[in-house]
């Protein structure tokens, strides 16, 4: 399969592919070379997923006028 570029990947696609790779590896039907390639891809996907999860702080914004976006202050209730 052609491997999509990491940065275009959505989290759910990355997680789904990671789980597929784990399944393939656990079936143990690949050659060692294939397994190493899968493993490498899996490690990259796991890192990508973790990065996505750890990404930045929450950002809360409000569209004040058409196209103009400002941060939104939220008062704690």
């Amino acid at each position: 399969m052609s491997e999509p570029k990491m940065e275009e990947l959505k989290f759910e696609q990355a997680l789904a592919r990671l789980e597929e790779i784990v399944r393939l590896l656990e079936q143990g039907e690949s050659t060692l070379d294939e397994s190493l390639a899968l493993f490498e891809e899996g490690v990259r996907l796991a890192r990508f997923c973790n990065d996505k999860l750890d990404e930045a702080e929450a950002k809360i914004e409000i569209m004040v006028k058409e196209g103009r976006i400002e941060p939104l202050e939220v008062e704690e209730a």
Partner: protein, 397 residues
């Protein structure tokens, strides 16, 4: 005239009422004699200045009422007319009941709902799945409402790194549907990948902005999945039916839209662990296989195979030499034979005895004087050397 039984009369009246004109109608009147029976059914009368009609609303229908009817209240009752045979009284079997005033709104709601449903706008097949992890959540609601605070609180609790973009909109009163549609359209040009549209609880009239036909169509046409979150659990609006997902409340919408961050982290961590484990197992399996190979006879005595090969090589070489020697002798005797035959055919011996060969300029051997003309060049080959001659004359036979 043949008399009929009371039962027969009642049956005839009952069947006379089973015509469309009496089967689906809306009646406006004031409630009186209202009784909510222990069985759950409601019995009352509807009256106006001149008339009164008995009415019953069974438990299965009145469970859905979001108000408690009171004596003196003017209502619109939707249902059919039938006969209560034991007492021979006709009465109104009420399916839906609305307070006068909102009654019109409710009727419009039912009509629009039926229309859009018939168009297929509510079909399950139209509903799009929500992203597992949205990059940005758009929230279309009143910027000052409690709904927005609830949504933000739940979103940030479940997923601390969530990105939220709020699209302010009027959620009730004049211009609210247009305002919601505008916000929905603005959201289309952003990188939000899911939208929550809603407001907190309110009366039917207050929620009515979400029963707008154009808004319903805008939701259906949204390229981004829309989660509706209007009012409370028991409130249903047209927006709820057409949205990709209906959340019972704004907080619930937030729950449905983002996953728990720790849950996803656990999923990723567990997949990574299994990944490493699976590879490790394969490597140790390959290593065992390698050890097995290393202990095999072939690898234990590495010269074994080489010696085998060396011997084979010797054999081949011997064969090759024998073969060639034989072939050479054969060729040599063939050559001697041919040389002998060549000797007897050669003109050299004849030339040595003083004969000559005469040929024309093209090298054709001449056997007759008429093959040339006087003046032609001819070559005369002697035993030793060649004479280049010209014909002076000839004597043809």
């Amino acid at each position: 005239m043949q008399p009929i039984t009371v039962s027969e009369l009642t049956k005839r009246i009952s069947s006379a009422l089973s015509v469309p004109a009496f089967q689906s109608l809306a009646v406006e009147g004031e409630i009186s004699n209202f009784v909510h029976h222990a069985s759950g059914h409601m019995y009352f009368s509807l009256k106006d200045a001149h008339s009164r009609v008995k009415a019953v609303m069974f438990r299965s229908r009145n469970r859905l009422l979001n108000f408690l009817p009171k004596n003196g209240e003017t209502v619109i009752a939707v249902g059919s007319v039938g006969v209560y045979e034991p007492s021979g009284e006709y009465q109104l079997y009420v399916e839906m009941l609305f307070p006068k005033g909102t009654g019109d709104l409710h009727l419009a709601f039912e009509k629009l709902k039926a229309k859009l449903e018939a168009e297929g706008l509510f079909d399950a097949a139209r509903k799009r799945p929500l992203p597992l992890l949205p990059r940005k959540v758009g929230v279309i609601t009143s910027p000052s409402g409690a709904a927005l605070r609830d949504i933000i609180r739940v979103l940030t609790r479940r997923f601390p790194a969530v990105q939220i973009l709020v699209f302010p909109a009027l959620v009730q009163g004049e211009g609210a549907p247009e305002s919601l549609i505008k916000a929905l359209q603005l959201a289309q040009d952003t990188d939000c990948d899911v939208l929550i549209m809603g407001r907190g609880g309110g009366s039917f009239e207050e929620l009515n902005a979400f029963n707008d036909e154009q808004l319903a169509r805008a939701i259906a046409n949204s390229a981004i999945p829309v989660v509706s979150a209007v009012g409370h659990e028991t409130d249903f609006t047209i927006a709820d039916f057409v949205a990709d997902l209906r959340a019972p409340t704004p907080s619930a919408a937030a729950e449905l839209v983002v996953p728990l961050q720790e849950e996803l982290q656990r999923a990723v961590t567990s997949a990574a662990k299994r990944l490493v484990g699976a590879l490790r197992r394969q490597i140790s399996a390959e290593r065992r296989f390698l050890t097995q190979l290393a202990s095999s006879a072939a690898l234990q005595r590495p010269d074994y195979r080489v010696n085998q090969l060396r011997q084979r090589l010797d054999d081949l070489f011997t064969n090759l030499t024998l073969h060639n020697t034989h072939k050479l002798a054969l060729r040599r005797s063939q050559l001697g034979n041919l040389a002998g035959r060549l000797e007897t055919l050669s003109p050299l011996q004849t030339l040595a005895r003083g004969y000559a060969i005469c040929s024309d300029a093209e090298g054709h051997v001449l056997r007759s004087a008429d093959q040339v003309q006087p003046g032609d060049a001819v070559n005369v080959t002697l035993y030793a050397g060649l004479l280049l001659c010209r014909v002076e004359g000839r004597k043809c036979p």
